[in-house]
């Protein structure tokens, strides 16, 4: 297998790289202070980046999955925050509507999501329901042509900023996964309450909030799929989401490797650059090898997905390995920088903080191992 990209993909990669370096880099400090990068997302919308895989008739760029992954990759090299915002928006908000929405739902929401006018979010996780997603407690009770939702969600990426939320709730807890339904919920719906912002270790420019639904009335026409299809919808885009986060992790790892390499080449100790001293040279060699292996796993999974083939095992392997690589390479990058690496004057401490969550969200590394082992 070769990593050969089409002319369009190469052109896109260069555009996204230039965009990230020129437009996102100046925003990093603001994002680190907690400012949400609305302006960046608006510009990304103008360039078509908020609707990469969306068909042209819904205002998207209609590019394949690998192209989408290329964009997340290049963006995450500069900002993992932008990487996760785009990944959540596309993989788990726009995609479910595109795949499971009615013609009317698609017409109503997808063009606005694809243009970036709307930002998307995904609400599955609850305080007592994480990896065991089927145990969620948010209730949906049908009343006439409405469902009334009560419950709460946690760790909602883009929460509070997003305009559209895919919300999962059970209509009948006795039915287990078959009782779970998915709803498209708009931010201004009465009873939709944005709770506290999580103070996170990293990804400071992205908002992660708790959400509470208090007698939130959602029209039946906003249900995605039928009443028993919610869990299927939640699971359907897991592979896509996992490859997306694997790619985000790959971007962080690559950024950490390149920062460490550049620093080691110019940092002199004992009369020569530390990159020429074996302790550091071997470290960099190991980091580079892990990054390369992660890249191959990520693009292998992306390629399978692009061709419409099964990729659950490969997606989990890519996520497990790329996220582990991100944490390890970012940790080693700080080691290469020595004391300077521990300060905010250099970017490697940010890479380290941003990397850790990739082993947790969108399916923990332990969940990925369960998935992989099931295929053995």
């Amino acid at each position: 297998m070769n990593l050969i990209f089409t002319e369009e993909q190469e052109m896109m990669r260069k555009m996204v790289r230039d965009f990230a370096e020129s437009e996102i880099t100046p925003w990093i400090e603001k994002m680190e202070k907690g400012e949400f990068p609305r302006e960046i997302l608006r510009k990304m919308g103008e360039l078509g980046l908020m609707g990469i895989p969306v068909p042209e008739k819904y205002g998207g760029a209609e590019m394949d999955f690998t192209s989408y992954i290329l964009a997340i990759h290049e963006l995450s090299k500069v900002s993992a925050t932008i990487g996760v915002i785009l990944s959540v928006h596309t993989s788990v908000c726009t995609n479910p509507i595109l795949y499971f929405g009615t013609a009317e739902q698609k017409q109503r929401f997808v063009p606005k999501l694809a243009s970036g006018e709307y930002l998307g979010a995904f609400c599955l996780t609850e305080p007592s329901s994480g990896s065991d997603a089927a145990s969620l407690k948010t209730r949906a009770v049908k009343k006439g042509d409405q469902y009334v939702l009560n419950g709460s969600k946690v760790f909602i990426t883009n929460g509070g900023e997003a305009d559209v939320y895919i919300v999962f709730a059970t209509t009948n807890p006795k039915l287990g996964t078959k009782g779970i339904a998915a709803f498209i919920v708009e931010k201004n719906t009465p009873g939709f309450i944005v709770g506290k912002d999580e103070k996170k270790m990293g990804l400071h420019g992205s908002r992660t909030v708790q959400l509470t639904f208090e007698d939130m009335h959602v029209p039946v026409t906003n249900m995605l799929g039928n009443e028993s299809e919610g869990f299927k919808i939640a699971m359907a885009n897991l592979d896509v989401g996992r490859i997306g986060i694997a790619t985000q992790a790959l971007g962080i790892a690559e950024a950490a490797l390149s920062a460490a390499t550049a620093y080691a080449q110019q940092r002199q100790q004992f009369g020569q650059p530390i990159a020429l001293q074996q302790g550091i040279a071997f470290k960099l060699a190991d980091m580079a090898t892990s990054v390369e292996a992660a890249k191959l796993l990520v693009y292998r999974a992306a390629d399978l997905r692009s061709r419409g083939e099964k990729c659950s095992q490969e997606a989990s392997m890519a996520k497990l390995f790329a996220t582990k690589t991100a944490v390890e390479v970012a940790t080693e990058a700080i080691q290469v920088f020595g004391g300077y690496g521990y300060t905010e004057d250099y970017p490697v401490e940010r890479f380290f903080r941003d990397a850790k969550v990739t082993e947790i969200y969108e399916g923990t590394s332990e969940i990925q191992r369960i998935v992989i082992s099931k295929y053995l």
């Binding site: 002319e7 052109m11 896109m12 260069k14 360039l47 078509g48 760029a61 590019m63």
Partner: protein, 257 residues
């Protein structure tokens, strides 16, 4: 309006230049649209959007130049023309390029031709003016503003940091200076459309040119890298001694005062 842009494929600004066998080594190097030509493309698109017409981007280059032309199409140009001289000309110079471009443009009834002020590789700044001379149309270089009203044109030109305002008329050739505009990124829909836009490939023969007609007027004798920067010197002693030593060094060693 019939607008043409002169574009060159150049080394990426971030590439390190290395020599091998007396030539610049291009192996593994990234290539880009000459940044000044990006201003030209952006300006051409804006002029077209305001006045109607068509933007054609032309480049004298090799097969690889197609990539940069496609990028120009993705930005919004309508057509591209590649004049591929790879097999015919080994050592061209500014005369070669200008002559080929002028030969292509002579019967095109161009209203406006825009190029970059210089290319960041050889930085001669000659091709634009030479093309205008060959076409016998007026030209203004290093422009930072372009206003078109019918066939009347008001151009602001950067003169060593000052601005010079020039009134002229179409047809006209101008070269773009930094500050003229903010070049757009090619959007994803633009990238997807670029492949369907016409990109014509020509050779010298198609322009009824022989190799002798465009033979370089200059000869490159030697290519060498600038001397390595030497490490700086740190003066010691108390402040007065340091100042005295510095003044003396500026007199005797650097000979700048």
């Amino acid at each position: 309006m019939n607008i043409y842009v002169l574009m060159k494929r150049t080394f990426d600004t971030e590439e390190k230049i290395a020599l091998s066998g007396g030539k610049i080594n291009e192996d593994g190097a990234e290539f880009i649209i000459n940044p000044y030509d990006e201003y030209a493309i952006e300006e051409a698109i804006q002029v077209r959007d305001a006045n109607g017409g068509e933007v054609t981007v032309i480049s004298v280059g090799n097969e690889e130049t197609e990539k940069q032309l496609r990028t120009a199409l993705a930005m919004g140009a309508d057509k591209a023309v590649l004049i591929n001289i790879e097999d015919e000309i080994e050592n061209g110079d500014q005369f070669t390029t200008a002559k080929i471009l002028a030969e292509y443009l002579k019967d095109k009834d161009a209203d406006l031709i825009i190029g970059g002020n210089v290319a960041i590789d050889n930085a001669s700044g000659q091709v634009g003016p030479r093309v205008a001379e060959l076409l016998t149309i007026p030209y203004v270089t290093t422009i930072t503003k372009l206003e078109i009203d019918g066939t009347n044109v008001t151009v602001t030109r950067d003169v060593e940091g000052d601005a010079e305002v020039i009134e002229t008329s179409l047809p006209l050739l101008v070269t773009a200076q930094q500050g003229l505009n903010e070049p757009r990124y090619p959007s994803l829909p633009g990238i997807m459309k670029a492949k369907k836009k016409p990109l014509e490939e020509l050779e010298l023969d198609d322009l009824d040119l022989e190799e002798e007609d465009v033979e370089a007027k200059t000869k490159t004798i030697e290519i060498y890298l600038p001397p390595k920067k030497e490490a700086g010197r740190v003066l010691t002693g108390d402040l007065n001694e340091q100042v005295q030593e510095l003044v003396q060094l500026l007199h005797t060693e650097a000979k700048v005062i």
